[in-house]
């Protein structure tokens, strides 16, 4: 059970307080109707799934309730950093 630093609570808390919310920094297009099928497919389904440095979202659902972003190495499972939603990509 990994430890995750919640940037809002500012402490490391056990994984089962969190739910992973998938790849980070995929924002919903402002005008979906103007999207081509390819663009919409990319938004809905295409994922980086990198072997290594990965930007992902977590929600501290059994804690402060906030969604936030994280950079984690998918080979070692170690976090590089976590930061609040809305902050620029790291």
């Amino acid at each position: 059970m990994i430890l995750i630093h919640c940037p809002y609570c500012d402490e490391k808390r056990p994984e089962i307080e969190f739910v992973n919310a998938g790849q980070a920094h995929i924002s919903r297009p402002l005008d979906p109707s103007s999207q081509t099928d390819e663009e919409w497919e990319a938004y809905l389904f295409i994922r980086a799934n990198p072997r290594g440095r990965h930007h992902e979202r977590w929600r501290h659902v059994y804690g402060c309730g906030r969604f936030f972003n994280a950079v984690r190495d998918t080979v070692t499972d170690k976090f590089e950093t976590t930061y609040k939603a809305g902050e620029p990509r790291r």
Partner: protein, 953 residues
């Protein structure tokens, strides 16, 4: 000495004898004995049979690495435990142990025929045969193979014991309480660190327990640690797995060693989060590989020393040492001092440290350097060994009753490796040792390769003049993997050590290779003629030793397995004979049978009551979300398919929620309480999912909106009153709400008082009848329900369950998300176009509904289905075809999603998803079922009161 118990020595309590039995025969041991030491003391050498060849096996080790001496312990019904190591079973009065994998008896085992035919069962033999004739595989070969498989018998009754679990936190976790672990604990004792010290044995000491000279130090240290308030000592406790971020899985065995069990849990799982970890797991001695090295009486030399010094047991009266490492010599000297007769020391090396030679000479022990054991005489126990000179192979026989193997040492790097710490190969030790850590952890003592056992020669197997393809020199004893099996694997092209392991099963037995992996590597290395380090190492996986399922399940058993959520009214339903169904985590009343009623009769009666007078239904499980803030309406407008901004306070609206992929995920009726406050409802199973989804959009897509979501599912008990008499029943109980049709129309909400309790009263209907849903603070749900039942007696008020609710809504063509939809259904497919805001530029899921396949013709659409025979109630999930004559595989055009008998209509009704169904009204479709094909006509969705007259009264 009496039997093999030494006159003096050991830590056993000579004043306290313990009666126990093995294979029905009664024996006497001493308090402090393990089953292994007690049986050895009684001269028992034969403990079990090996997996494949059923060869007689004795004790090879003294600890948890034991591969041979596996037994079952029977503590009565449900308390049969197979595959226990005799070296780890503490004896107690009345212990009943039995041997395994033999028939009819341990001494005469028919399975031993495999040993005679061993030459036909080399590694991987099963891949090469049992293929012809083909039909024999299922009927003859495989059943036979399976019969032979397995070690101990399977448990047959439910385990009456219970198991505990907990999380624990410490600053320092020390694994292993040998000298190194104890020193670490003593070193940190005076800090303010919270320290947990665990050891798998029944007392602290590890290797020191076999070294009387260290006992005084051990006593002092033990006392100091017990007195230290910040140190927790856990014995009979195994750290079995090392997980991310210093999270260690640990199991403590609490009752197996006790004669009386009592109420205590059998084992306890501790999930320990440690700031820092010290691994002091020690090292395991390596056997030597030679013909007959598995004969009962052949064992590790360190084990013999433990049996003598810790348990006061001689493993033999004339003991031979076969060594490639100095440590064996020291063991033998200790044995001699303890009064064990030593027949000879044989060492494969040409020369050894002169100090060893002098000590042997002083003790009068014959020494044969540059010699090897080439064979062992005796089947059920050792009678003699043949040894030979490594150069000229000239041999001789030495009579003896035990052979000790000293093949060097293997550091226990298991947990280190679980933690993903790296390993490096050390030629001088012929072993892998910890290199770079991946967590906050250090290895100390034997498991770091740091020991004072002396030095040794690293060899794959002992030299022998015999034809190596004919001898049985074992590497993995339990799985009967011999040196020639490993060579065969290499010969057949298996080069990766993982392939060799899987092909030969070396290291895959219940000891997981603790004594076999390194010998296997050495043999593979010579066969491949590559340095060991270039062959790689099989990965270490948790658990370090086998751990009980029950312990890992912890408290999660029976009622505690998973929560069953119950409403405030559940106890009434229970008391009134409700039949329940599980929906998500909830338990809901499905129907309320009266005496002699089956489900069909009860549901018919409940439905008729609702249509003719009034029914009462516990709707508390519906999800509720309170949406509050200036932007509440804007938020809902973006989430739901239909428009919300214009909804007036006091009015309700049906909301349809899609996932971004355009498919229906939830629905529910929601009310606007005030310009900035909505009361949403969701499906029972969808509540948490919907709230999470809405939070996601709110927090990450539209953080600018001033609106907040709060789950109020459990704030309100919800009682639905449905039926023509609902208003009459309610009127006298309600204050501050005008219930008249004019003042309180369908799809409206009012706040007021009912029976003195504040209520949010909805006028809504999932039945097509005049209906109300009464929301009151949850704690009052039961009392209100009872008041309504009393007040409703005049109308024969009838409680109804989820089944009647399903029938009533189906008669009206109302869908149930998850039953009539399945995650691939759009609003248009479901006939809910009316619930989609045509003018809305965007809402969640809108764009996906414009994708090519979603707008393409031929999608499955929800329709009504009326069977030609009104008495046929179709099976839910039945498949629909256009042409029943076609051959299998048939082209299916849809399936039945809901199907019931409708008492109100006097016939069956069904809903179905059918390709292009919306254009098929009136068409006849076919439903092929086993034995009979039913026919039905496509209809509209609403079967009862299509104009909705009954609603607006």
């Amino acid at each position: 000495m009496t039997g093999f118990r030494l006159e003096t020595g050991g830590r056993v309590d000579r004043g306290q004898t313990v009666q126990f039995s093995f294979d029905g025969k009664s024996y006497q041991g001493l308090a402090g004995d393990t089953l292994a030491s007690a049986l050895l003391a009684n001269g028992v050498m034969l403990f079990g049979r090996s997996f494949k060849y059923h060869r007689p096996r004795g004790v090879m080790a003294a600890g948890s690495e034991e591969p041979n001496a596996l037994i079952s312990v029977d503590r009565g019904p449900g308390r049969f435990t197979p595959n226990l190591r005799a070296t780890g079973v503490e004896i107690y009065p009345g212990l009943k142990a039995v041997s395994q994998n033999r028939w009819p008896s341990l001494k005469t085992d028919f399975g031993a025929i495999n040993d005679r035919l061993g030459m036909f069962f080399p590694a991987g033999f099963y891949n090469k045969t049992f293929m012809w004739p083909r039909s024999f595989w299922d009927k003859v070969y495989e059943p036979a193979i399976r019969k032979m498989a397995g070690l101990g018998d399977a448990p047959t009754a439910e385990d009456p014991d219970h198991y505990a679990a907990t999380y624990a936190h410490c600053d320092l976790l020390i694994v292993g309480a040998g000298p190194a672990g104890i020193d670490a604990a003593l070193g940190y004792m005076d800090t303010n660190k919270r320290i947990i010290l665990v050891d798998e044995q029944d007392e602290l000491g590890g290797g020191a327990l076999a070294d009387p000279a260290l006992w005084p130090w051990l006593e002092r240290s033990h006392k100091a640690l017990i007195d230290a308030p910040n140190v927790t000592i856990l014995t009979r406790t195994t750290a079995f797995g090392y997980y991310h971020d210093n999270f260690i899985g640990v199991v403590q065995r609490l009752t197996d060693h006790l004669p009386e069990l009592g109420d205590a849990p059998r084992e306890k799982l501790l999930r320990i989060r440690a700031g820092e970890v010290v691994l002091a797991q020690g090292a395991i001695e390596r056997p030597l590989v030679f013909d007959g090295n598995d004969t009962p009486g052949v064992m590790l030399s360190s084990a013999a020393r433990i049996f003598a010094n810790r348990y006061g047991v001689a493993v033999g009266k004339a003991v031979v040492l076969m060594a490639s490492h100095d440590s064996g010599w020291h063991d033998v000297f200790a044995l001699a001092k303890a009064g064990v007769g030593i027949a000879a020391i044989i060492d494969v090396r040409e020369r050894v440290d002169s100090a060893l030679m002098h000590e042997a000479e002083r003790l009068g022990i014959a020494v044969h350097l540059n010699h090897s054991v080439m064979g062992v005489t005796g089947r059920h126990s050792v009678r003699a060994v043949q040894i030979c000179n490594n150069d000229d192979y000239l041999g001789r026989r030495i009579d003896c009753d035990a052979v000790l193997m000293a093949g060097g040492w293997t550091p226990s790097v298991h947990l280190w490796s679980h933690s993903k710490g790296s390993l490096k190969w050390r030629d001088d030790l012929g072993a892998y040792v910890p290199d770079l850590p991946n967590e906050n952890v250090v290895c100390v003592g034997g498991c770091s390769g740091d020991w004072d056992f002396g030095t040794g020669a690293i060899i794959d197997m002992l030299p022998t003049p015999k034809d190596q393809s004919r001898i049985k020199a074992f590497v993995d004893f339990q799985n009967d993997v011999t040196a020639k099996d490993i060579k065969l694997a290499v010969r057949e092209g298996f080069r990766s050590i993982e392939h060799i392991k899987r092909y030969t099963t070396n290291g895959m037995a219940t000891d997981q290779g603790k004594t076999s992996n390194l010998n296997g590597l050495q043999i593979a290395s010579s066969a491949l003629n590559k340095p060991v380090a270039d062959i790689g190492l099989t990965s270490f996986r948790p658990p370090y030793t086998p751990q009980t399922f029950g312990a890992l399940a912890g408290h999660a058993k029976g009622a505690l397995f998973q929560p069953t959520r119950t409403t405030n009214i559940d106890s009434w339903a229970q008391a009134h004979g409700a039949v329940f169904e599980l929906v998500a985590q909830w338990r809901r009343a499905r129907y309320f049978p009266q005496s002699g009623e089956d489900m069909h009769a009860a549901v018919n009666r409940e439905c008729v009551a609702v249509r003719s007078s009034v029914g009462i239904f516990d709707a508390s499980t519906l999800g509720k979300i309170e949406v509050v803030g200036p932007d509440a309406a804007e938020f809902l407008n973006r989430m739901y398919t239909n428009p919300w901004k214009a909804l007036e306070p006091g009015r309700c609206r049906y909301g349809l929620l899609l996932k971004e992929d355009g498919f229906i995920t939830d629905d529910g009726v929601s009310a606007r309480l005030a310009p900035d406050r909505f009361h949403l409802t969701t499906t029972t199973g969808g509540a948490a999912r919907v709230l999470n989804m809405m939070e996601d959009y709110l927090q990450t897509e539209w953080p600018d909106l001033d609106v907040w979501l709060t789950s109020t599912t459990e704030q309100y008990a919800v009682i639905a009153l449905q039926g023509p008499n609902a208003r009459k029943l309610l009127e006298p109980l309600v204050e501050g709400i005008d219930l008249s049709a004019e003042a309180f129309p369908h799809m409206a909400i009012r706040e007021g008082i009912i029976c003195g309790i504040p209520t949010r009263l909805f006028r809504v209907s999932f039945t097509g009848e005049l209906g109300f849903e009464i929301n009151v603070p949850t704690a009052y749900g039961l009392a209100l329900w009872q008041r309504l039942m009393a007040q409703g007696a005049q109308f024969d008020i009838t409680p109804y369950g989820t089944e009647a609710m399903h029938v009533l809504r189906a008669e009206k063509g109302f869908i149930i998300v998850g039953q009539d939809t399945d995650g691939t259904v759009t609003p248009f497919d479901a006939g809910l176009d009316w619930a989609v805001g045509k003018k809305k530029p965007d809402f969640v899921g809108k764009r996906s509904m414009a994708r090519p396949d979603i707008v393409a013709p031929g999608r499955k659409q929800l329709v009504g289905l009326l069977t030609d025979d009104p008495n046929v109630v179709l099976e839910e999930g039945a498949q629909i075809v256009a042409d029943p004559k076609q051959p299998v595989p048939m082209t299916m055009i849809g399936h039945v999603t809901s199907s019931y008998w409708s008492e109100a209509l006097g016939r069956s009704i069904a809903l179905a998803l059918v390709a292009g169904g919306h254009e098929m009204t009136g068409d006849t479709l076919h439903i092929p079922m086993p034995g009979k094909t039913h026919t039905a006509k496509v209809s509209g969705l609403v079967f009862y009161d299509p104009e909705g007259a009954r609603l607006h009264v």
